[in-house]
Structure formats: structure tokens, C-alpha cells
């Protein structure tokens, strides 16, 4: 469990990035921080691994204030996937992935073997292991970033717009991969995005932020969709534009779901009671 307690951050140049932010992030679930550019998402995320220290308030992991933990030790047990992949340009893919385990004293051969496994996990061909980051596509680099984040088998995984630089198809692929990973490995994932669809797809809990880190609404995707807390949320999730107000229409004997403008959004195959299955975003 990660707890933000009345956290504020004012940067030395006077920018007030976050003010009095309090949120609890439950363990073994995905919490998504979503909001438009500059609202303080990265700042909040980096407070968890002490890349940013709050000006006031505190951040606690399982009840322990991170301010009392040595930052180097803290960072080595938290996976962090950066907004730009943040790979070391002079190291091969495999060595980038093995960086943190080797810092932790894992023998090189063992760390590299594990790195190869992680490449499978994130869907990277092993033949790319000996390439340098500059020789990879943006999407491949981001996968390497994810693999590096997973390399120490961290309980907590921080992901800052990790799929920003890839096309929609690869992106959907990576999102599916992350859903699977989270389900199988039960990590506490804190995910940052400005894409509300991505937030609803991945998040057990979604925190919608306004400028200055003000929480506009917090809840499950369903709760937010069902009852947007205010105008801002309604407009942010697109409810006001009719994008999410779906209706059922009958066409050729099939129930088709259409949006506010009458454009088809999908096919109705039954109710959830029939399917008796669910999950985040389903």
C-alpha cells in the first residue's frame, strides 16, 4: 500500500506542481493517475521512489515514510518505467535490462539469463539482446524499459506514460501484455497517462487529476463512468460529447451498441450476468 499524505511540491523556481494531495494506492492492483499535461502526474509518481522529495506532507509505503529510507536502496526495489524509455545508450539491450540486478550484486551470467526471460515476457525477440537502444524502434525501446522495470521482481512498478511513443496497434498489444503481467504477478502498479481510455482499460482504481494535482475524482472506472463527480470529469471522460453515452439499436436482428451520434460502437452479445466474468475495463 502506498499512501500520499497531504503532499505538496513546490519546485525551486516557484512552480507549485502539487498541492495537498492525499490518495491511498492499494497493493496488488493497478492505480492510474490520469490528467492533462502538466497537472503533476510525473511529480507525484517520482515522489514514490524519492526522485522528487515533497515540500510538505509525506509518502509512505506499507506504513513506512519513504523519507527515512535510503533513496538508492528504495529505487533498487521499485521498478520504474520512464516517460522516455531512459535506457543507457552505451549498453546493449540485455545489459540495460540486467542493470539493476547487477547493482544489487546478482552475478552477471545469472542477471543476463534472467534478462533474456524478461525479453520473452514483454514480447521482445531474443535476437535483439545484443543491439544498442539506438538500433531499436520506439516501441521496442519502451518494451526494454518495461523489462528493466521488472528485472528486480519489484513489488511496486511505477510506469510513466510507458506506451506514449508507439502506434495504436503496438500500444494495444503492450496494454494487453501489462494486464496479463499484473494479473499473473500481482504487482502494485502505479500508471500515469493522459489517455482516459488507457486509464479505464488498465486501472482497478483511476484517479483523475486537475491542474496542481487536485483530485477531481477517484474510483473504479465503472463508478467514474456511472457518476462523474463534476463537469470537469464529465468533459474529461467524454461523457458530455456523447462519446460514452451508448444506446442499443437493433439492426438485422442483432443488437448493435451506438454512441450519441448514432455511430456503431460494438455488438451486444448479452448481459454480464450471462457472461459471469469480468475484470478491469471489461
Amino acid at each position: 500500500m502506498i499512501e500520499f499524505r497531504h503532499v505538496s511540491k513546490r519546485y525551486p523556481d516557484g512552480t507549485s506542481a502539487v498541492e495537498d494531495f492525499s490518495v491511498v494506492i492499494p497493493s496488488r492492483e493497478t492505480t492510474v493517475l490520469v490528467g492533462s499535461s502538466g497537472c503533476g502526474k510525473t511529480t507525484l509518481l517520482r515522489m514514490i521512489n524519492r526522485m522528487v522529495d515533497p515540500s510538505s506532507g509525506s509518502v509512505a509505503i506499507d506504513g513506512e515514510d519513504v523519507a527515512h529510507v535510503d533513496p538508492v536502496r528504495l529505487r533498487r526495489r521499485i521498478g520504474y518505467v520512464m516517460q522516455n524509455s531512459g535506457l543507457l545508450p552505451h549498453r546493449k539491450v540485455i545489459d540495460n535490462i540486467a542493470t539493476v540486478p547487477m547493482l544489487n550484486g546478482v552475478p552477471r551470467a545469472q542477471a543476463r539469463a534472467r534478462a533474456l526471460e524478461l525479453m520473452d515476457t514483454v514480447g521482445l525477440d531474443r535476437s535483439l539482446a545484443d543491439r544498442y537502444p539506438a538500433q531499436l524502434s520506439g516501441g521496442q525501446q519502451q518494451r526494454v524499459g518495461v523489462a528493466r522495470g521488472l528485472a528486480v521482481d519489484p513489488n511496486i512498478l511505477l510506469m510513466d506514460e510507458p506506451f506514449g511513443a508507439v502506434d495504436p496497434i503496438v500500444r494495444a498489444d503492450l496494454q494487453r501484455e501489462l494486464l496479463r503481467l499484473q494479473r499473473d504477478l500481482g504487482k502494485t502498479v502505479v500508471f500515469v497517462t493522459h489517455d482516459i481510455d488507457e486509464a479505464f482499460l488498465l486501472g482497478h482504481q483511476v484517479v483523475i487529476l486537475q491542474k496542481g494535482g487536485v483530485v477531481a475524482q477517484r474510483g473504479t472506472p465503472r463508478e467514474i463512468l456511472a457518476r462523474p463527480a463534476n463537469e470537469f470529469v464529465a468533459s474529461f471522460i467524454g461523457a458530455d460529447r456523447g462519446k460514452r453515452a451508448l444506446r442499443v439499436a437493433r439492426a438485422d436482428g442483432v443488437d448493435v451498441v451506438v454512441d450519441g451520434d448514432g455511430r456503431p460502437a460494438g455488438v451486444l452479445v448479452g448481459t454480464e450476468e450471462d457472461a459471469a466474468a469480468g475484470g478491469p475495463g471489461s
Binding site: N49, M51, R76, Y80, M82, L88, P89, L103, Y132, A134
Partner: protein
Amino acid sequence: MNYFVGAIRWVLDPAHYPGPNGIPVRMAEQLWYTALTLVIACAIAIPIGYAIGHTGRGRAVAVSVTGGVRALPTLGVLTLVALWTGIGLQAPIVSFVVLAIPSILAGAYAGFEAVDRNVVDAARAVGMTGWQVLARVEVPLGLPLLIGGIRAAALQVVATATLAAYVGSGGLGGYLFAGLQTRDYEQMLAGALLVVVLALVLEGLFALVQRLVVPRGVVAQRGNVRTRPSRSRPVMGDPIEEGK
């Protein structure tokens, strides 16, 4: 043109090879002064340059001090130090070190500053200590500019090392001063030619070193446009072109 042919003939004359005043010995002396100077200058300038580049502090001081030092005429420094230490190797080496330090210092801190700030940030974020960031990220990624700085210094020193003869030490400068005294211009020009040959050899050597020590990923990256600028401060002092 006649002088030129004469100088080449002088260089090729077998009589000028044996003995302590022969071409091989003189060239070896010249190289030895250059190498010794570079080692000492590196030992002084690289730690300081790295400290400046890593912490981002003290840069303004370094720029103005090295700027001032660059303006010192080497012959003046040499004479001054020689008045103190007398005839011998100390005075020339001290003045050559003074000549070499600015380029190497600038190469060291400019190399660190050229490292993408996002990469340094990422290295810290995955849990590297300050020393690990320095040794595993900044040093390897800063090498191209550092070597460029050493290369520039080496060329300056190998040419200027002729001044060692001015205070009675050896080196190729011996031919220049002897030639000047006896109006043997062919000998003077021959000495200069030999210096040029040494400079070219050093150039080749540094090109080779650069290829060997610069991390391969950095080379691979060169063709790409950097997504974000590195630290945005303008690079002052002498521009270093090599290895950019």
C-alpha cells in the same frame, strides 16, 4: 622550393641519424616530452573537469581561469620557470602542462555536459549511486569529447615542445635553434618537417584510440537526432570539434 628540397635531403641524409643529436633520438625526446606533459596534464585536468561536469559547479571559475591561462605565452612561462628551476626538464614540462590543461579540462567537463540529462536521471532513478553514475554513465558517454580535448592538447604540445631546446633540453627544437644560429635554414626547415610528421602520427594514433574506446552504442546513436537537448548551457571556451 630549394630550401624545401634541401630540407628533405637533410632529413634523408644518413649522417644525421646516429648519436645523441641524431634524428631518432631527437624525435624520441620530442615524443617523450609530449607524453610526459599529457600524463601530468591529464592527472590534473581530468579530475577537476569531471568534478565540474558532475556537480555542475565551478564552471564559470574554470572557464575564466583557463581562458586567462590560454592567453599566457608559453615562451614567457618557460623563461619565468627556468629562472627559478634553472636549466633542465622541469621548466619546459611545467610550461607545456600549463599549455595542455585548458583543452583537456574543457574536454572533460564538456564531455559530461554533453551527456543527455535524461540518461543521467534514468541512471539515478534505477538506483545508481552518484559514483556509479559517474563511472558507468558520465565517463563512458563523455569520452568522445575528452579524447577530443586530449588530442587538441597533444597537437599543441608536440609542436610547442621544440621550445625545450631553448633551455638546453633536447627534442627537435635543437635543429631549429642550431639552424637559426648558423643560418642553416635547411636544417631549420627539416626540424619543422619532423615536427609535422610527429603531429600527423599522433593524429592517426588518436583517431585509432577514439575508435577503440568510444562505446559502440554511442557511435550507433550518432546518426539519430536527440529527442531532448542535453544540458542547455552554452559551451564556452574553445570549441572542440573532434568526436562531436
